[in-house]
């Protein structure tokens, strides 16, 4: 008894059709215009070294809520938050009348290898928040931390609770030692200090290779075979191309900050176990007493739900909301379902506070 019921003649036709569609897809991809980085109008309102703070131009009447600052991860570029008009969390938030800011960390260069987490949390992130507070005359901002940016946002909020009115974390790792966390298992045996001593900044290509090797067949062979399914759809191909550009657009990581993040979070799990000190300040999540919305993705292979859900028991705030998105780590940014659901969830949660 076998499930295999492939007709040979049909298979030959399938191969021919697949080849034709892949060739057509390749031709269409080659003819597409190069994708840009982000699609919504914005102004750069604050700089510090390579870091730029953008403020998005409003697209709807203001709700009057405090400004929302998006703090994205260091390991990829933040324009995935505003990839294209129909796949943009930022557009969804703007359409709901929120005043949206975004931090762009830039591309670290060789001279940045000694930047530490202290620089990212207490200087760059703090500088952006101070700029918004100062220029708008608001006492605190709403902070949305995404992925690793969520971890940085947690650190900032614990160190400077007065600067954050409400905290939203999205696919944010908190407990780095849960059994499903493959990345964490692989990193635990690496001498990251020696790695940074020799390599300096950590190449983005190395990180990309690591991320791809978490699901090597699904993220390579299967993904590219999928081009055949969208070969006749220029809009889908354009989306595919934009995502490809984003996925492989990985900045090098500032050496010292990378080593600290790997050692303190991935290897020593200090956010959960304690002992995390950034820039001389002790990061104690119990200091976070503002309302917290923690959004996770049920099928996230990079930040499994088990890595983010423990946040509830670690913070001081009693106003904690958890929201599960049915999808994966990338789908939560760009899937069609996320486009309406996430901005609505975030905006409604903020409006109530």
């Amino acid at each position: 008894m076998t499930r295999l019921a492939i007709d040979v003649a049909q298979a030959a036709g399938e191969i021919a059709d697949f080849s034709r569609r892949m060739a057509a897809g390749a031709c269409s991809l080659a003819a597409l215009e190069a994708p840009g980085e982000g699609c919504s109008a914005r102004d750069d309102v604050h700089h510090e070294e390579r870091v730029v703070l953008y403020r998005y131009r409003p697209q709807a009447a203001s709700t009057g809520l405090p400004p929302l600052l998006i703090c994205y991860a260091l390991v990829n570029r933040p324009y995935v938050m505003d990839l294209q008009p129909d796949r943009s969390l930022i557009r969804g938030l703007l359409a709901r009348g929120l005043d949206v800011y975004l931090i762009d960390w830039g591309y670290p260069e060789a001279a940045d290898r000694f930047l530490e987490l202290d620089d990212y949390v207490n200087r760059y992130l703090a500088g952006c928040i101070d700029h918004i507070r100062r220029t708008l005359g608001v006492p605190a901002v709403n902070l949305l931390g995404v992925c690793q940016g969520g971890t940085l946002a947690l650190c900032y909020t614990a160190l400077h609770p007065d600067g954050v009115r409400n905290l939203v974390t999205m696919v944010t790792p908190v407990d780095f030692h849960t059994p499903e966390n493959l990345l964490s298992k692989w990193i635990r045996g690496v001498d990251v200090d020696r790695m940074v001593e020799v390599l300096g900044n950590i190449p983005g290509e190395l990180l990309n290779a690591t991320f791809l090797s978490l699901m090597p067949l699904r993220l390579t062979s299967q993904k590219y075979a999928g081009i055949a399914d969208i070969a006749d759809d220029p809009a889908e191909l354009a989306s595919f191309l934009r995502m490809e550009k984003w996925i492989f657009d990985s900045p090098d990581q500032a050496g010292a900050a990378f080593a600290q993040f790997m050692r303190w979070f991935f290897q020593e799990n200090r956010l959960v176990l304690g002992g995390l000190v950034i820039g001389g300040g002790r990061v104690d999540l119990r200091q976070i007493d503002c309302p917290v919305l923690n959004i996770h993705a049920s099928q996230d292979h990079l930040v499994p739900p088990s890595a983010t859900l423990p946040l509830r028991g670690l913070i001081g705030s009693h106003d904690y909301t958890s929201f599960e998105f049915d999808g994966g780590h990338i789908g939560i940014y760009v899937s069609a379902r996320a486009q309406e659901l996430l901005p609505r969830t975030i905006a409604e949660w903020l409006e109530k506070r």
């Binding site: 008894m1 295999l4 019921a5 930047l115 020696r194």
Partner: protein, 223 residues
Amino acid sequence: MPDPWIEAQQEFARQAADGGAEAIRRIREFSDDYLGITRELWKLVESHASGEPGASSRALEKGLDQLSNALKEKFERLYVPAFGPLHAQQQATERLMATTLRWQRAVTRVSELLSTVATDAVEKLIAALADPGASGPPVTSLRQLHNLWVDCGERAFAVTAHSEDFAAAQAELLMAMVEMRFEQRRQIEEWARAFNLPTRSEVDAIHSRLHELARVLREEQKR
């Protein structure tokens, strides 16, 4: 505490005092070993070519790996302590060779583990297709077969990828690469210094000072 450099010189002196007999013995030993390995390699190829029972591709691959490791080990034993005006260069070359060997071993180890993934994936695919208990709709297209293969491959990979062995092998591969890069860079920097060219180490030292100066300046400005 013993000084490794002094010890190396003393070891060289000891061998020299022995009239070079130790070095000659090592080279002879290597020649004998090398011939032995060559004979083993020939036997292995002959056995595989004749289709003897058990002469699978996997057995051939395993045999070749064993011989390769044996050869590396014998080759490593050839090294003698460095001495004289070129001792630093000889030591640098030896370190680079040692780190390259370490990297090759690490690659081999990861490859071994990945080959078990491939085998496991095939077994899972066969089970999914052919086992009497296999459930699911019939697979009627190559695309469905490909998707099933990906599912089986990912499940097989996940088992190995989550193991301590794999994590250790990955970490060793990365660190072996790092150490090899370090030795490569060290040699390149030696050449650069010989031509009075700036090196990465020197630029790093400048960046480090600049970073520290900027930090001090910011603190002063805050006061």
